[in-house]
Symmetry: C2
Amino acid sequence: MKKKLGAKSVIYPIPTVLVGTEVAGKANYTLTGDCGIMGLQPALVYIALHESSYTSEGIRRNNSFSLNFPTSKMMQIADYCGIHSGREVDKSLLFDIFYGELGNVPLIEECPVNLECRVLQNIVIQQRHIYIAEVVQTYVKDDLVINRDGHFYLANMTRLDPLIYSLDNRYYQIAESIGIGYSEGKKFQTPTA
Amino acid sequence: MKKKLGAKSVIYPIPTVLVGTEVAGKANYTLTGDCGIMGLQPALVYIALHESSYTSEGIRRNNSFSLNFPTSKMMQIADYCGIHSGREVDKSLLFDIFYGELGNVPLIEECPVNLECRVLQNIVIQQRHIYIAEVVQTYVKDDLVINRDGHFYLANMTRLDPLIYSLDNRYYQIAESIGIGYSEGKKFQTPTA
């Protein structure tokens, strides 16, 4: 039996990203899980922020942002970035930063993976700004890139060790790999009519 | 040091959902990870599908869909739904289904959590249809709902046991909880200038 819980956006688990942008000439970061993939080719992603958020202000001005993936070991500093607005604390010195191809997008050195993103559309739905963006460049820590026949792949998720969130307001770590995509389904026995 | 991998939408980890919809009078399902939260209040979610997908056709007709979260034990059947299009195989008998408030949205009994969704906007970007939807109702397996002082909460992620995906094309399980949101950051020692 199922219980009705009302209208809740219970997607799980939730990836966490530190969204980087420049506001008033300084690097600023916020933590969110309202992000996701919208397409692979072209590489489309989104983040959703409240219209009043400090980061949202920076994104609308620059038309760009970075997505930086904290590891589980960065839980405290990542959560700190989610608790405090850039309006009340200066977060510009929290991380070592580097700049990529757009020039005005701060990328966090300490995060193993960074996406540099350019906004394509800003959709406003009831106080939420949904920024749909194309990924301009992807940066990955050297030792987490696997070179297979001249093609570059991201290392196993357990090595990337992402900080995962869920609507039970808890952080989690990833466990071991249990199977391969577009392959496990071949073992499935379809029911006979 | 970081390596550039080009424009890749490397969001991780990726939740997996079985998207349910009725096409040509039959229940149909596809597996995707291109889904996410866009807001909590109101409860907004999205899924992104290729314009040519069979599910996409059903959604445009009905203006609604369901999100059903497979457990890691459902890996084979979930992957099967991602491999085969509803154009080639009939998936209507794969699951026990129930109907909710919209009437035309098949919900999967075997999945511990189901969201019944009504489309608010369909944004088309380069062959991708991005369906932004409001959650109409949330259904959760009885024994995964926690009643705390009359308020209902979802059980711990480890009990929900989601099937997690990543761009390394592997499925993963969730590990243990390591901390609490909006709390761990209070332990963070800010750098002194």
